[in-house]
């Protein structure tokens, strides 16, 4: 059973889409497992000013993607890297035990997008 918050983020996902001139793009997951998350970040002066996502996955995967974009916008890259899977799950009022891996995926997607940004912008 999903929390109301998970259902809200699943039914009305925030920030779905792509950022054509993204500064960092990260894709994690595997179609074999039924989960793929693609995260786009726009970063100005080390601050995440916009985030968008596309996700193939279950209700929890969509909801964690959606809430993650909300959690990181306005944060510095360093702050975003500190967001844990637990923080993602907590922000959704919890996830069923079998779905906790979805929150790992969100954390990994953020990290992958930031790594991409850093590889394109050495020293930042």
């Amino acid at each position: 059973m999903y929390s109301d918050k998970v259902m809200d983020h699943f039914m009305n996902p925030r920030n779905v889409g792509e950022i054509p001139d993204a500064d960092g793009v990260g894709q994690v997951g595997n179609p074999k497992c039924g989960d793929i998350m693609k995260m786009y970040l726009k970063i100005n002066d080390g601050i995440i000013v916009d985030a968008k996502f596309k996700t193939f996955g279950c209700g929890a995967a969509v909801a964690t993607s959606s809430i993650s974009t909300e959690l990181i916008v306005g944060k510095t890259v360093e702050e975003a890297l500190k967001i844990t899977n637990k923080a993602v799950a907590d922000a959704l009022d919890g996830l069923p035990p079998a779905k906790m891996h979805c929150s790992n995926l969100a954390e990994e997607a953020i990290r992958a997008a930031i790594e991409d940004y850093r590889s394109k912008n050495p020293g930042k």
């Binding site: 179609p31 497992c33 996955g57 209700g59």
Partner: protein
């Protein structure tokens, strides 16, 4: 999250379970608190319960075309399957330890076979083709000197494919090998007459045909050697002891009677709905495939894969529209892998994850097909919009 209100709830998961019919419920009601006697008691109250069980056994026997003495009541389809397979394996182990089955059986069969494998039995899991069908020839070729049991489902619970049970049974008979069929999904949906069908054992479950949950049958052809499932008192000839679940058994009897009386009409009704749905969905939604043979399938079963999306998400969106269906995605099975049946027919994991099973029942109408198609166009579209796989596919076109 508010679901669409004011709309009719549309139940399209009859392979999961069905609601108890009014006539069935009426048959059951007296045996809860009015006629609560133990069927083993000799006084009137007990005899009334005994009569209810006898009546249910006769009705079941009549519906299946067998003798009442060959009908054994159990607590579920799973119990019947376990009994048939383990019982046959144990009783015939001196002759051999080889069992033949298919790779798309229900977990109650697959896991029982895997359990026996651990106990030293050798199991051949015959692979089905891309349409989910097995051939009698495959079974014939798999037979060895030490084969003691063949168990193949009559119809598959996910993709609805109907196996050549009559031919497989004939081969088993020729070789003197016990043949069991899991007919849990078939009974009530397609006509089955054991007078002519060469089957030694058959399992069924009442709640799949408008009977109560917690009531199953193992049909055991006279002379079939299997061990008893439990040790205890004399119930079910001491082969499945335990005080009988009288209301559930009475309900099963009534339900199978009604099912066999109505089968032709019911069959035609579902066939019409299923064919219309398949045509409509395949035409309306691109990147969609039908899983399982188009013709050799249960009349009420349609199973689709919608590429680039995941099944649980789809079920959630349909639920919001008041539609109940099921999926073979990993997220709905509670494991990391999607349905073993969809993988067995050769679907790649990601396409198996995007499956939807629709199973019709008596009260469904053509309006339900329209509502489902409309909901699918919306839901699949919405999920594809947010799927990175769809985006990649669109770029490659």
């Amino acid at each position: 999250m508010t679901r669409d209100t004011g709309k009719k709830e549309i139940y399209l998961d009859h392979a999961a379970t069905t609601g108890v019919k009014q006539e069935v419920l009426e048959e059951m009601m007296p045996y809860f608190s009015l006629r609560y006697g133990n069927p083993s008691s000799i006084y009137k109250l007990g005899r009334e319960s005994r009569q209810a069980i006898d009546m249910a056994r006769e009705r079941t026997a009549l519906a299946l075309g067998v003798s009442p003495s060959e009908v054994f009541f159990t607590g579920s389809g799973t119990e019947s399957l376990n009994w048939a397979i383990k019982g046959a394996a144990e009783a015939n182990s001196s002759k051999g330890k080889h069992i033949i089955t298919s790779n798309i059986e229900h977990h109650a069969v697959l896991h029982t076979c895997l359990y026996l494998q651990k106990k030293g039995y050798d199991v051949t899991f015959l692979p089905v083709d891309r349409n989910g069908l097995l051939t009698a020839e495959q079974v014939f070729k798999a037979i060895r000197k030490d084969t003691i049991l063949i168990t193949v489902m009559t119809a598959n619970n996910e993709i609805g494919t109907i196996q050549p049970v009559a031919e497989i049974g004939a081969i088993a008979k020729e070789h003197g090998i016990l043949f069991h069929t899991d007919a849990v999904q078939a009974i009530g949906n397609i006509p089955i007459n054991l007078k002519t069908l060469p089957v030694d054992m058959l399992s069924l479950s009442a709640h799949k045909f408008y009977g109560p949950k917690g009531a199953g049958v193992l049909y055991l052809r006279k002379g079939s050697r299997i061990t008893d499932i439990l040790q205890g008192g004399g119930q079910e000839k001491g082969r499945r002891p335990g005080t009988e679940n009288v209301p559930a058994i009475a309900g099963l009897g009534k339900a199978i009677e009604l099912a066999s009386q109505n089968i032709e009409k019911y069959n035609a009704h579902m066939l019409n709905l299923r064919n219309k749905l398949i045509d409509k969905v395949l035409a309306a939604i691109p990147y969609t495939r039908l899983n399982g043979d188009r013709e050799k399938r249960l009349p009420g079963n349609a199973n689709f894969s919608f590429e680039f999306i995941e099944g649980e998400s789809l079920l959630l969106l349909l639920d919001m529209k008041g539609i109940s269906a099921s999926s073979g995605s990993a997220c709905t099975s509670g494991s990391l892998d999607p349905s073993h049946v969809l993988l067995a027919i050769g679907l790649p994991h990601e396409i198996a994850h995007g499956s939807l099973r629709v199973t019709f029942g008596e009260t469904n109408t053509e309006d339900d097909i329209d509502a489902l198609t409309e909901a699918l166009i919306f839901s699949v579209g919405k999920l594809r919009e947010m799927s990175p796989l769809y985006e990649n596919a669109a770029k490659n076109i």
